[in-house]
Every structure is written in C-alpha cells, then in structure tokens.
C-alpha cells in the first residue's frame, strides 16, 4: 500500500515542472517543521509525566516523617513533615484533581507515559515518511537542474 503510493508519487513528481516542485518542497518542509515541533513538545510532556511518576515513587515508607522544605513561592520555603505517604493529589486536567493512592498515581502516570509514547511512535513514522517524500522531491529537483545545466552547456557549444 505504502509502496504503491510512493511509486505513484514518484511518477507524478517527475512530471511536475520545476516551480511546482519548489512549491511542494516548501510545503513539505513546513509540514516537517510543524511535526518536529510537535514531537519535541510531546517529548517534554512525557518527561514531565515521568518526573511525576518518579516523585510519586519516591514516597516510600522510608520517606515517612522526613522533613522537607515546601516551596510557597519560588524563593520562599517552609519546613514540613511528610505525614501521609499513602495518598497524593493527581491533576487530571481541566482543573480537576483526584485523590489517589500513591500506587495508583504511579500507575496513572505510567499509563500517561505509555500513551504519549504511542503518539510519539506514530509521529516518528509520519516524520520519516515526510522526510522520504522531501528527499525524493529534492532528488528530482537536483536531477532536473543538472539536466538544465547540461542542455545549457550544449547550447553554448
């Protein structure tokens, strides 16, 4: 299926005039740009989820009653004691928070990580495909330009 599509495209590509090829190239480049930014954003989101998961996982029984410094602002901290390591509040999105057991929260963030990973894999596929398309367009353009240069050389002689 994919092969068919690419050969079909290759055929139509060699038929296109140079200015149109250029247009296709810029369009592909724009799409690629957008996709790679999305990829980076997803990566960042995944890192956040992973960090949440690790933080929740750090609430082991050994951590109970240890003193911590709780940030009130970015520059003001007050000492606090970890009294409850069993429950955490999880941000579900859209302003809702749910109290979960620490174990559940870890599972929740793991699920989120996996979900993002799936999207990342899909996106990677799309990006590779687009890159291949772009490469073929560039190749055809190069070939065209080389041909043009040759015929001009002949014209000079």
């Amino acid at each position: 299926m994919a092969d068919k599509a690419s050969t079909q495209q290759a055929v139509s590509l060699s038929d296109l005039p140079l200015p149109q090829l250029k247009q296709v190239k810029t369009q592909l480049e724009e799409e690629l740009n957008f996709l790679t930014t999305s990829y980076a954003k997803l990566r960042k989101a995944q890192a956040t989820f992973r960090e949440c998961k690790n933080s929740a996982a750090a609430l082991t029984p050994a951590a109970k009653d240890t003193t911590t410094l709780v940030p009130l602002t970015t520059s003001l901290y007050v000492p606090g004691k970890l009294s409850d390591i069993e429950h955490v509040l999880v941000d579900l999105g859209t302003g809702y928070y749910l109290e979960k057991t620490t174990q559940d929260a870890i599972g929740f963030y793991q699920d989120k990580c996996d979900y993002v990973q799936k999207s990342l894999d899909k996106l990677q596929e799309t990006i590779t495909e687009k890159q291949n398309n772009l490469q073929s367009v560039v190749n055809v353009m190069k070939y065209r330009l080389a041909q043009q240069a040759q015929s001009e050389d002949k014209g000079d002689n």
Binding site: L92, Y96, L98, E99
Partner: protein
C-alpha cells in the same frame, strides 16, 4: 481605472475571508484539544468510587466536589464542546466556499485587467 479599484476591493475581501478562515480553523483546533482533555478526565472519572475525593481548582484554591457532580459537569462540558465543534465546522465549510468563490472572482478580474492592459 475602475477595474483596478474593483480588483483591489475584491482582493481585500478575499484576504479578509482568508484571515477569518484561518482564525476559525485555529479555533477548531483549540476546541479539539479541549475535547480531548475533557475526554481524558471523563475516562479517569469512569471508574470512580462515590467516596473518592475529587477537588476542583477554582482560582488558586482546591475545592472539594462530589464525584457525581464532577462527572456530570465533565459530561456537560463534553456535550457543549462537541456542539461547538459542529458549529465551527459549519462555519469553516461556509468560509471555504466563500473563499473559493472570491478566488474565482479575483482570478476573473485579474484576467480582465490583463486584457485591458494589453489593449
């Protein structure tokens, strides 16, 4: 000379439509991401006990809310957003059609303009 003025006016109209269209598409994307976020919350609420502690962020404070209320709230929001998406999609369709029409108009005027110049 009036042809030139007309061409300019129609071109401007075309640009306005184009601008509106891109703004509407942007709106559509925003709604889509909102819908997705709400659906995630809904999914999470599905297997919720009635004695679960749900909090809602209002300004800087977390206010405790009944799970059933939170659930129906999210469901309502999803309904609303879905309706909004439908409305915006209709708008996009409408604007696309208008844009296509104007594009043709511009093209025709350009042709006429070109011919006039050559004469």
């Amino acid at each position: 000379m009036s042809l030139e003025a007309k061409l300019e006016a129609v071109g401007k109209e075309f640009q306005t439509i184009q601008h509106n269209l891109s703004k509407t598409v942007e709106q559509r994307q925003k709604l889509e991401s909102q819908l997705q976020e709400n659906e995630m919350v809904q999914k999470e609420f599905k297997n919720l006990n009635d004695d679960a502690n749900v909090y809602k962020l209002i300004g800087p404070v977390l206010v405790k809310q009944e799970p059933t209320e939170a659930k129906s709230n999210v469901n309502k929001r999803i309904e609303y957003i879905s309706a909004e998406i439908k409305r915006v999609e209709g708008l996009i369709k409408d604007l696309s059609m208008k844009q296509e029409k104007k594009r043709k108009e511009v093209y025709e005027l350009q042709m006429a303009f070109q011919e006039n110049k050559e004469q």
